[in-house]
Symmetry: C2
Subunit: 133 residues, 2 copies
DNA sequence: ATATTAATGTTATATTATTACACAGTGTTA
DNA sequence: TAACACTGTGTAATAATATAACATTAATAT
């Protein structure tokens, strides 16, 4: 194994849960994940939440806060869950990760009037997707 | 016709709960609100959630999604909970509503590459406040 | 090897939020 | 003045989301 390129090798539980989320076309909720992985030996909520926490921490998945649900990261530019933006359709609940250099740059450089410096942000846009419009 | 901000007369439960949140220096959680208003006759979670839902809907309070907590709106420019932005200190958990014309304008005009039009957004910045830095 | 850190397994419990149903007040319609 | 729609209330029960506590095992570093 080449260790110079630091890659997070997922553990068994993390891999099982990541695979499920990654294959899903929609955000998954923790207990829905639990039901889906019980046949693979993951029996308790805590096993799911621990894997989710770790996956979020290393940026493989993101949590959609307004929906308490998780999606895989498909945006190579969002490093380690530090800066996330999503669009959410209020009818069909389709969630898409937004990948916009302009937006990232604007938000990364944003400073409020107290001069507070931000290490992280999460932005959720709501509206109607093309199909639902 | 220029429709002015409609004045909502709060009902008894809504007023009790709004007053509590409005006086608070920090975001309040639903069950913490419940414990605090039980002496005023509000006994059940649902009574709290119903008032919270309405207060959010009319823009008197906002929900901090990442914290499941509620704060009063102190930003006259954020009409009816459509466009909200907050800064959250990851140490002391102080939450401040951000009121920046530039930011509002940028986000209100943001269009993603699918041309999705957004009716609403919520942005949460995380970092360290002045005191905790 | 052994110390240390990270992950696991398990039970129990805490926290957050909604469903379902009965009823009361208000204003509008007819 | 009823019939209706609409909004809010009260209450009990339950669903959905998340964490605490503790014992154990696996992986990594020195």
């Amino acid at each position: 194994m080449n260790k110079m390129h630091k890659e997070h090798t997922l553990t068994k539980n993390q891999q099982i849960i990541f695979d499920l989320i990654d294959k899903s076309s929609e955000p998954l909720k923790a207990y829905s994940i639990l039901y889906n992985v019980q046949k693979k030996g993951i029996k308790a909520p805590l096993q799911v939440y621990r894997a989710l926490d770790k996956l979020v921490e290393i940026g493989k998945i993101h949590k959609i806060e307004s929906r308490n649900a998780f999606i895989a990261c498909h945006n190579s530019s969002c490093q380690v869950a530090k800066a996330t933006a999503f669009s959410i359709c209020e009818i069909c609940e389709k969630v898409t990760e937004i990948s916009s250099a302009g937006l990232s740059k604007y938000l990364a450089n944003f400073k409020d009037k107290d001069g507070m410096k931000y290490s992280k942000y999460n932005l959720e846009f709501f509206g109607l997707c093309k199909k639902c419009r």
